[in-house]
């Protein structure tokens, strides 16, 4: 056996026999029981008015579709109601406090949405002549300038579509640089506290992964790290601040050591929100870092995406940056799309077209709104809020690592020992109190992790109510009311769902009865 994660139950615990509110319709007041669109559709209905046209099939090669697609017919008012009702079953940052550690759920300003939809930005075709998109290229170049200045790095690859895609970009650049040196380095060092995407990315680039243990202080064990260095080491993938919410104090020493050993330093920038505008990764000796625009620079998470993961690169890695990229030749902006036209030796292409332009627009608007001073203030407030939670909850929960934290604070489940309440139960009880749960069971370096990231968007009043709630629940757990927690959540559109049944017999689509 290998790779066992911490066991935790996913099967719902049988609910207690509380009286249920039963209604005839299945809905309860503002909470609607909403069927699938496929269960509502009728032939002959439509939500668009398109006139039928006669066509000849002479240019279709006899390849016309024989059967209907099977999409249900619905009118516009039905559609509006359907999606409105579904939206009401979701918790967003607009709804309330979302202290989901390592996810940076901050306020999403609406002006960014407005700007992203401007005529001349939101409607541009990616393959228009470059002479007709000079403003769009200027926008990409301006965002690149902000990112490079904030990180003190000389280059940035703009095309990666998400954080994990940026990891891929960075590691591919590292592999290309090593190959260009004529060396064969196959091993990548990854701390055990890393996001799971780090080892997955290293493997996708053909590297083998070697895990570095953490110290009792939640940092990289630098002695163990140095002992693993050798001529076959391509680099280290380190998150800083790390996933325990701690700044890696030895980061400069780590950078020096990896460089001395001939490897490169990949920094996972997922936690940039802690240091943005205050600490420049380029001053720490890193060679590349992806920047999650959907975290630090507030492009909406959208229920799981889209993201954007521009990746800053050091002098050593810049020549290997993927196509396309924007340059300014003195008179105009130019998008370099052809590998053979590039100055350097690009390692290839990561996605169609030029990157997540809609996210660039929003992120740049967010950055310009803050300015250099506002970004500095924002990271300060994010770290202040996290430390306020730590100081206000440290006595009743179990803080995993002593000392100050950065933008998120890590607790583990020692405070729940012998209560019969698990981290999962505790988090589900938070839902009933009107809060989104914290991140659970991550990072893996502590048992039953609860990782809280308040971001700079929260007021002291919100934090105080949250603190009061967490304290109250912790007392309740310690008082032995396990049943209360096993039953949670009670006040949600659905209660605990049977994930085991879902995975054993996957039902991944609707089918007609």
């Amino acid at each position: 056996m290998s790779d066992m994660s911490q066991g935790r139950t996913n099967v719902p615990v049988a609910g207690s026999q509380q009286p249920k509110t039963v209604t005839i319709s299945g809905s309860k007041g503002l909470e609607f029981d909403e069927p699938l669109i496929f269960e509502m559709g009728e032939e002959g209905r439509t939500g668009v008015d398109i006139n039928p046209v006669e066509i000849s099939d002479s240019r279709l090669g006899g390849l016309t579709r024989k059967e209907n697609v099977g999409l249900p017919g619905l009118s516009e008012p039905q559609i509006v109601r359907h999606y409105t009702r579904l939206s009401q079953k979701n918790y967003g940052i607009d709804s309330g406090f979302y202290p989901l550690g390592s996810c940076t759920m901050k306020h999403n300003p609406r002006v960014n949405e407005k700007i992203a939809r401007m005529r001349g930005l939101g409607d541009l075709h990616p393959l228009q002549p470059q002479s007709t998109v000079q403003g769009a290229l200027e926008l990409i170049d301006t965002l690149a300038h902000w990112l490079k200045t904030l990180t003190n790095m000389p280059a940035v690859a703009m095309s990666p579509a998400a954080g994990a895609h940026g990891e891929l970009c960075g590691m591919m650049a590292i592999a290309a640089a090593i190959k260009a040196r004529g060396e064969n380095r196959t091993r990548v060092l990854v701390p055990e506290s890393a996001h799971g995407t780090n080892p997955a990315t290293a493997a996708a680039c053909g590297f083998t992964v070697d895990s570095i243990p953490a110290t009792a202080k939640g940092r990289v064990d630098i002695a163990a790290f140095k002992a693993k260095l050798g001529p076959d080491v391509a680099g280290i993938m380190l998150t800083n601040p790390n996933t325990c919410g701690l700044f890696e104090n030895d980061i400069i020493e780590i950078a020096d050591a990896i460089h001395e050993a001939g490897g490169y330093f990949y920094c996972d920038g997922a936690n940039l929100n802690a240091i943005c505008g205050r600490v420049r990764p380029g001053d720490l000796g890193i060679d590349c870092m992806h920047i999650n625009l959907h975290k630090t620079f507030s492009t909406p998470h959208g229920g799981g995406g889209p993201g954007a993961g521009p990746t800053v690169l050091s002098e050593a890695l810049a020549p290997f940056a993927p196509v396309p990229y924007v340059i300014h030749d003195g008179n105009s902006f130019k998008l370099v799309e052809d590998v053979n036209e590039a100055d350097g030796v690009p390692f290839g292409r990561l996605k169609g077209y030029h990157g997540q332009m809609g996210m660039f627009t929003r992120a740049l608007a967010f950055m310009m709104s803050h300015g250099a001073d506002g970004l500095m203030q924002a990271s300060g407030d994010a770290v202040l809020n996290a430390n306020y939670l730590r100081a206000s909850l440290g006595d009743i929960l179990s803080v995993s690592f002593d000392g100050l934290c950065m933008h998120e604070v890590l607790f583990d489940d020692r405070f729940l020992k012998d209560t019969g309440v698990s981290t999962l139960d505790f988090a589900k009880a938070m839902i009933d109190e009107g809060f989104h749960p914290m991140t659970m069971y991550f990072p893996l370096v502590v048992h039953g992790a609860l990782l809280m990231e308040p971001t700079e968007s929260e007021s002291k009043e919100t934090l105080d109510l949250y603190i009061k709630t967490v304290r109250g629940l912790a007392e309740k757990a310690k008082a032995g009311d396990a049943e209360f927690f096993h039953d949670a959540p009670r006040h949600t559109p659905r209660r605990r769902l049977d994930e085991t049944a879902a995975a054993r017999n996957p039902v991944l689509r609707w089918k007609p009865q």
Binding site: D123, G352, M357, G358, R509
Partner: protein
């Protein structure tokens, strides 16, 4: 700063509670030489009005396809998006939610994903679909890597008519994972299926064919599917214009094992190339090798139907270096836009929309064929075709742009260095193109050529 709720009094009180003197005291773990004392050299904070003004100035420097006759396709298409779509996706509960890891408070997103997966499966004629990928190009590359896992082989045969960006993304992965790509030269008149079939051997993991291809040509996949299956290889069908499936036979009905497609055309704006929504569909027997997130049906403790993310053991937070892919995001909001637009269309709407696209493209092709110096190359097409011009297409496109017309994509942009393609451009017409647009293009071409 308008986005920051803490007051100076709050900050002082909180610092006292923590036991440090000032904000810098919170950064004690940062090496002193790396901690900035003053903001970096970038402009200071600005009000909403000022930011809008700066961005509007940049927008004004671009030629907007909304206000000019535009015939650009090449895997990204201008379609009309009903107002309902953009209104609904901006509801905060959709827009500002995270990945639905807590199903009790995410049933909205999850039900949308379940409906989306069903819509994608229906359109492509496949049994199952995932909750989306970054874009069509990454879907295609992931499809090849999945075929390699399923067949435990490492040789992909790729049609010459595959969108060059899709090919380049796949090649980038091939370089790092060490799998082989075999491909005939691209030909604007279309791939020879017989030639592709001759490239399939018993080490081949998959054949990847795009239809309509990047030049607009349509293919019957039935024969190549049979040939692939005979050698134990999978057929990957690529589609970059998903609306075509309102009129054309679904790849799933022609023997495809995986469909990788771009979903931008339904519900999503052109947006200068992103974010888009990669579609990915396959058969149930391969579902545990499928990349990306997937939503499944289940019940809650009270026995009510509900939805959860499932089969997550394929993913990175559990599998780490053994994950099926390093992708852990989907294109959630773009998938929502796709799903709402597809719901509005329904069966009748998608059929009529597809027919209108084809009809407009036929009208345009007939008009262009009459212009001296223009030859329409395609025998078959959906809403996009390739024309051969009497002059280099790159120059012609620039001249058209100077007249405020976005006339087409020169093949030299997609296939740089390929001398055969110098005079060719691909031209698309959708439901958004009026006859007046088409007349403007033909008149301008007559002048230029």
């Amino acid at each position: 700063m308008r986005y920051l709720p803490l007051t100076d009094e709050d900050r002082e009180e909180m610092l006292r509670k923590i036991g440090v003197n000032d904000i810098n005291g919170l950064f004690a773990d940062v090496p002193a030489q790396a901690l900035l004392k003053a903001p970096v050299d970038l402009p200071p904070r600005q009000g909403e009005m000022e930011v809008e003004r700066i961005m509007a100035e940049m927008a004004a420097k671009n030629l907007s396809p909304s206000t000019s006759p535009s015939f650009l396709g090449g895997g990204a298409y201008r379609h009309h998006i009903p107002a309902t779509v953009d209104y609904m996706i901006q509801r905060g509960e959709f827009l500002t939610a995270y990945t639905p890891y807590q199903p009790e408070v995410s049933q909205g997103t999850l039900q949308v994903l379940f409906e989306f997966q069903t819509q994608v499966a229906l359109l492509t004629g496949m049994e199952v679909a995932n909750a989306s990928m970054y874009d069509g190009a990454t879907s295609a590359a992931e499809a090849v890597m999945m075929a390699n896992r399923v067949t435990r082989r490492e040789r992909a045969v790729i049609a010459g008519g595959l969108h060059p960006h899709y090919r380049e993304v796949t090649e980038t992965h091939a370089k790092y994972l060490g799998f082989e790509i075999v491909s005939p030269e691209p030909n604007a008149n279309g791939d020879s299926m017989d030639e592709l079939i001759s490239l399939i051997d018993d080490k081949t993991s998959c054949v990847m064919v795009q239809t309509p291809d990047v030049f607009g040509n349509l293919y019957d996949l039935t024969k190549i599917a049979e040939a692939a299956h005979e050698k134990g290889a999978l057929l990957i069908a690529v589609n970059t214009e998903i609306i075509s499936l309102g009129l054309l036979e679904a790849p799933g009905n022609q023997g495809a094992d995986i469909v990788a497609a771009e979903g931008q055309s339904i519900g999503n704006p052109l947006g200068f190339g992103g974010p888009y929504v990669g579609l990915f569909a396959t058969n149930p027997k391969y579902v545990r090798q499928m990349p990306g997130r997937v939503c499944g049906e289940t019940k809650d403790v009270e026995g009510k139907r509900g939805w959860v993310l499932t089969l997550s053991t394929r993913e990175q937070h559990i599998r780490r270096e053994k994950a099926t892919s390093n992708i852990c995001t989907n294109s959630g909001l773009c998938a929502l836009a796709f799903s709402i637009h597809a719901s509005l269309l329904g069966d009748e709407g998608i059929k009529r929309l597809a027919r209108t696209n084809h009809a407009n493209a036929c009208t345009l092709a007939d008009m262009l064929a009459k212009v001296s110096g223009v030859e329409v190359l395609n025998k078959t097409f959906f809403n996009e075709f390739t024309v051969k011009l009497a002059k280099p297409a790159g120059e012609v496109v620039e001249k058209l742009a100077s007249k405020g017309i976005l006339g087409g994509i020169p093949l030299s942009r997609l296939f740089p260095g390929n001398a055969d393609f110098t005079n060719m451009m691909i031209v698309a017409a959708t439901e958004t193109n009026t006859v007046k647009d088409m007349e403007a293009l033909t008149a301008a071409l007559k002048e230029i050529l």
